[in-house]
Symmetry: C2
Subunit: 583 residues, 2 copies
C-alpha cells in the first residue's frame, strides 16, 4: 500500500473502497475526498477505522507498484585497495624447538603492521582452524586488524557489498574483492520499506524521534530490505553470505542515521544538527545485517544536516573535487542535492524538490513504475507513454516535467504557472482543448481518459500540480544560482552539468530546459551520470584511498543552507517562472 | 563437594555414606576404598550411580570448606595512568552559525588523539545523552577511543577491577581509578568453581578440549565466580556495576585460555603450545562479565605454555625485570612457578609442585581452610594447630611441610624419605612412637587421634604422603638450580628469595629450610611477598606504562621446560633428599 504522507491522511494515495464495517470518515478524509467520493465508498486506508467485518477493494493505483530503478551509473576505475583482504599462510608446525602459540604463529607469518583480533569469537575459533587445516590457513585482515581465520586457501572467496540507501530505493551491488580489479558481480534493488512510515525524510525524522521503538522499527525496516537484497545477490552469484566481509554504504544524512539506528535528534528542527557527521565503521552483525559476523560496515561521511553521504558519493564518482572548470551536479532523488565545484572549491545544498518529481506532492503522481506516464507530447492530440505499456495510473517525474513543458508550449499554462480556462486558449487544437476541464477543484488538464480505451480512472494534471512543479524546480534553480554566486559565477558559466539519480537519467532534457528546471546550456554540456551515489559506494568499497578521499570531501565541501541566505526568496520567485532560464 | 581429581574416582575426596539405592561399586571405588569401607557404606560421590531413592550422608571433610585466602601482597605505587579515563566536557549549544553534529561537538571538545566510538550502542546513545544533559557531558575514553558518554560531570565515578584467576582461588580488587592515585576500595575472593571439573590445570585442559560445550562450561564457571565477586565488592562499596569501565586479569596460561573461552588445543600435549601468548583486550560483555557493557578487559600476556600471566604479575610486582643482584621468586599456587633474574636477564619455569601443597595428592590433604592442621611441632608429644581452632579434618600445605620436617628431625622419617617402623626409632618419646602404626596400607604416622578429644576420624600422614612431598619440593628445588645454572649461578648466590602466593606466606621458613624445599640462605634474604600476582593485576589496571612493561616482560622472559633439560632428573633425585640443601 502506498503511503507517501506517512499515514497522515494527506496524500490520498492509499485510496480503498469499503462498503460497510468502518467508522465515520475523519476530518482529513472529508477534506481530501469530498462527500461525493465518500458516498461512493472511497476511503483512505490510513484513516478509516474498521468497526466490524469489512470488505475492502484496493485499486491497483494504491498498491506499491513494480518500480523502475536505474542502478547503472558513471564508471570510474580505481586501483583495487579494499579495506579487507585475505592472505594465505602456510604455518610451521609446532615442535619442541618451536613452541610458539598458535596465534603468534599466525601473526608472525602475517608480518608486521597487522594487529591481533580484538573480538572473542575470532580468538576462540583460531586454534581449531589452525589445527583442523593442518596449519594452512587464510587470514582475513580488515584495515590493520586480523578479524578471522579460514581453513585452507580461500583467497578467491572474498566479496563486498556496496549499498546506496535512498529515501525511496535501496540498491545493493555485490562485488568480488579478490584479484586484480574489483568487479560488480550482481546488482539488486528494492523500495526502501521505511516508506511505509512516511515518504520523505522529514516524516521519518519525526517518527524516529518519537520513541526508541519507532527508531528501531525504521532501522529494522531498512536492514530487512538490505538482507533481502543480500539473499538475492548471493543466490544469483552462488556464494555464501559468509564470504561477504565488508559493506560500504552511502545515503543521505537521515538515511545514515536510521541505518545505524542513531536518533536524528537535532535533525528535525533549526539548526538541523545531525548526531554524527564523519565516517563510521561498525560491525555488520551489530546492525543485524546477515553477512560474515566479523564483517565491517563503512558508512560514508555526511556533509551536513541535509547533504549526505550520497552527495559525497556523487562528488567522488564524478571527481568534482578535482575539477578545474566550473562543474555542477544535480542529484534529484527524494531530495534534490546540488553541488557546485571549481578548482577544488565545493559548495553543496539540499532542496526539498524531490518529492514532487517522485510523485509525492502531485495529485496523481507516482513513482516511475508500471502504469506511470513517463513522457507526454502534445500536437493535435495528447500522446502519453506509459511504463510497461499498461493502462495509465498516474504520472512520474519525467512525465510531469514533459506535461508541464508541453502545456506551457501550447499555451494551456502561462509562464507564471497559471492553468488557463478553455476560452483563454483559443488556439488549442479541439482534442487538446476539451481536456481542460473545470470542476469543484478548479481547472484540470486530462492527460489520459478511460474513453481512450484505458482501464481505470482518468489521469489529470491539476493547477496545484503545476504549482508544486514550479516550487520544486524553482528551489533547485535558485539554489544552484545562489551557490554559483559563492564562486562568483553564473548559470551560463557552467562547463559541465551532471544530472545524477534516476530522475536525471530519464528526464527529457528539452522539457527540463524549456521550463527552466536547469539553465539553458548547450546540450553537450549536460550529462546524465545515472546513480552516481551508488558508484561512490562502490569506490569506497574498492579502495581505502577513496575512503580517505571521501572523508576529505565531506570535510571540505561547504554546506549552504538556502533558506538562511539573503536573496534566496527573490531568486526563488524568479526561478519559478516556467520558461528557459536565465532570462 | 570437593573433587580435586575431576570426578575420576582417584582422589577419594568426595567420600559419602550411602545405605541403599546405589549401583554396585566401580573398579575405582574398590581399589581406593577397599571392601571394609565399602561394607560400611562409604562410596565416592563421583562414581556411585544412584539406582533409586537413596539417603546420602556427606561428611564435613567432603564439603568445600570455608577457606583461607591471602589477598594482600607486596605494595608498589605507580603514577596513575589507567587505560580508561573520564573527561568532563561543557559543549557549545548548536546554533545556525554552529550546526556541527553532536558527535563532532564532543570529539572537537575532546581535542585530538581520541577516536570516535566504534560500537553501535555508543553511537546510538550519544545524541540523547548530549541533549538530555544540556550539553554538559562526561566522555569515557579507553585507550584512544571514546567508548561512552554520560550525562553531567561523573568524573568521580570511575572504577576498575583487578582479577587474579588462580587455579584454586579467584581474587578481585575493586579500584577507584579517578583522582591522584589508584586506590583499592574493596577486595573479595572465592574458590574457582572450575575446580568442580578438576583440581589441576591438566584435568581442565583435558576437559576443555573434549567439546565446545565443556569449554563453555569452564568459561561460564569462572565468569560466574567473577560476577559474584563483582556483586560483593560493588555492594560493599555502594557503587553501580556500570561504574566499572575496565578490568585487568592475571592467571596462568590455562586460566587465561579458559577465562576467554579459547580452546587450549595445543596445551595438553608435547610441545605444550598455547593458543595465544600475548596480551588480549576484549569487551567484558563478550565474556558475560556484568560491568559496564562498554568496559574492556585486559588479559595480561603469558610467557609460555605453563608459565602464565600470574608469573608476569609476580615479576612486575617485585620488579625482578630490573634487578641488579640475583633474585629468585617462587610462587607456589596450584602450580609452582619459579623465576630467576639478574641484570635484566630472566628465566622462568613451572613445576607441578603445587597440588601436593594444596592438598590434592596428599591422602588427607586439604586446602588451608577451617579444620586444616597448619602447623605441627613434635616434642614429648605431637602438637598440631588447627585453623579455626576446630577438630582436625586434614592437613594443609604448611602443616604438611611442618609434619615432614619434624618427623625427619625426630628420626621417624629418614633423609631419603622412608618412614620407619616404631622399633627402628628407639629414641622417640613414647607418646610420639605409639603414633607410628602399621596396617594394610603400610606405615602411617597419626598426627591427631579422636581420643585426643577431637570429633571425626584420625588425621594421618602416610609414607606415600612423604613421597609426594619429596616429589613436589624436589621439582621446585631442582628447577631453581637448573635455571640458576643458566645464569652461571648457584643457590647460595641468591641475594633475595621471594616466596609468593598463599603458601609462601604461611609456610614456616625453618621447616622449608630443614627439608630443602628452599636453599639454606640466611633468613634475611628470604621474603614473603604474598599475592604478588594480584599486585601485578592491580599494576596493569592502574597504568598503561605497566601494561607495556608486562608485555615486554612476557616477551623477554626465557621459558625453560624442565623435563627437556639434560641433567634435570639427576638434580631432581638429589633434590628429593629431606635435608637442608645444597649439601
Amino acid at each position: 500500500m502506498q503511503a507517501p504522507c506517512g499515514g497522515e491522511g494527506q496524500c490520498g494515495k492509499c485510496l480503498v473502497k469499503v462498503r460497510e464495517g468502518v467508522e465515520e470518515p475523519t476530518a482529513a478524509e472529508r477534506e481530501l475526498l469530498g462527500e461525493a467520493r465518500l458516498a461512493e465508498g472511497w476511503r483512505l486506508a490510513c484513516q478509516a477505522r474498521v468497526a466490524g467485518e469489512a470488505t475492502v477493494e484496493v485499486p491497483a493505483s494504491s498498491l506499491v507498484a513494480e518500480h523502475r530503478i536505474m542502478s547503472e551509473g558513471v564508471a570510474r576505475e580505481v586501483p583495487p585497495e579494499p579495506n579487507v583482504r585475505k592472505v594465505a599462510l602456510r604455518l610451521a608446525r609446532p615442535s619442541v624447538d618451536d613452541p610458539r602459540a598458535d596465534l603468534n604463529r599466525v601473526m608472525e607469518a602475517l608480518g608486521g603492521g597487522v594487529r591481533p583480533p580484538r573480538r572473542v569469537p575470532a580468538l576462540r575459533s583460531a586454534p581449531g582452524v589452525v589445527r583442523a587445516s593442518g596449519f594452512q590457513v587464510t587470514a582475513v585482515v580488515a584495515g590493520d586488524r586480523l578479524v578471522a581465520l579460514e581453513q585452507g586457501d580461500t583467497r578467491g572467496e572474498l566479496y563486498g557489498l556496496a549499498v546506496d540507501i535512498g529515501t525511496t530505493t535501496v540498491v545493493a551491488y555485490l562485488c568480488h574483492l579478490a584479484g586484480a580489479g574489483v568487479k560488480v558481480v550482481e546488482v539488486a534493488s528494492d523500495l526502501n520499506s521505511q516508506a511505509q512510515f512516511g515518504d520523505d525524510v522529514i516524516s521519518r525524522i519525526g517518527m524516529a524521534n518519537t520513541s526508541e521503538k519507532a527508531l528501531a522499527e525504521l532501522q529494522h525496516a531498512v536492514v530487512e530490505v538490505i538482507n533481502d537484497l543480500i539473499e538475492r545477490v548471493i543466490q544469483e552469484a552462488g556464494i555464501r553470505a559468509e564470504a561477504i566481509y565488508e559493506i560500504a554504504v552511502v545515503g543521505n544524512t537521515c538515511m545514515s542515521h536510521l541505518f545505524l539506528g542513531v536518533p536524528p535528534a537535532g535533525l528535525g528542527s533549526v539548526p538541523f544538527v545531525p548526531s554524527f557527521r564523519g565516517a563510521q565503521y561498525v560491525r555488520a552483525a551489530e546492525l543485524g545485517i546477515k553477512v560474515n559476523p566479523e564483517a565491517g560496515v563503512y558508512v560514508t561521511p555526511n556533509i551536513g544536516g541535509f547533504v549526505g553521504a550520497d552527495t559525497v558519493g556523487v562528488i567522488l564518482a564524478s571527481e568534482l573535487d578535482v575539477s578545474d572548470g566550473l562543474r555542477v551536479a544535480v542529484d534529484i532523488g527524494t531530495n534534490g542535492e546540488i553541488v557546485v565545484a571549481r578548482e577544488g572549491e565545493l559548495y553543496a545544498c539540499s532542496t526539498a524538490a524531490g518529492p514532487a518529481f517522485e510523485g509525492a506532492k502531485i495529485s496523481q503522481g507516482m513513482r516511475a513504475a508500471v502504469g506511470a506516464i513517463d513522457s507526454v507530447e502534445i500536437g493535435e492530440e495528447v500522446r502519453c507513454h506509459v511504463i510497461g505499456e499498461a493502462s495509465p495510473q498516474g504520472l512520474c517525474g519525467s512525465g510531469l516535467v514533459d506535461a508541464v513543458a508541453e502545456l506551457v508550449r501550447v499555451g494551456a499554462v502561462t509562464e507564471a504557472g497559471r492553468m488557463v480556462r478553455r476560452e483563454e486558449a483559443p488556439g488549442l487544437p479541439e482534442k487538446v482543448a476539451r481536456r481542460l476541464i473545470e470542476n469543484e477543484n478548479g481547472i484540470e488538464f486530462v492527460l489520459a481518459w478511460p474513453e481512450e480505451g484505458y482501464a481505470g480512472e482518468a489521469v489529470k494534471l491539476t493547477a496545484r500540480d503545476v504549482r508544486e512543479t514550479q516550487l520544486a524546480k524553482g528551489a533547485i534553480y535558485a539554489g544552484m544560482e545562489l551557490m554559483l554566486e559563492e564562486l562568483g559565477a553564473e548559470p551560463l558559466d557552467i562547463q559541465e552539468l551532471l544530472l545524477a539519480g534516476a530522475f536525471g537519467n530519464y528526464i527529457k532534457r528539452e522539457s527540463a530546459l524549456a521550463i527552466g528546471l536547469i539553465p539553458s546550456l548547450p546540450v553537450e554540456r549536460i550529462r546524465s551520470v545515472g546513480n552516481a551515489a551508488g558508484v561512490g559506494a562502490r569506490l569506497v568499497l574498492s579502495s581505502v584511498a577513496e575512503r580517505r578521499r571521501a572523508e576529505e570531501i565531506a570535510r571540505r565541501v561547504k554546506h549552504v543552507t538556502l533558506s538562511e541566505r539573503e536573496g534566496f526568496y527573490d531568486r526563488f520567485a524568479d526561478a519559478m517562472m516556467l520558461r528557459p532560464l536565465p532570462v
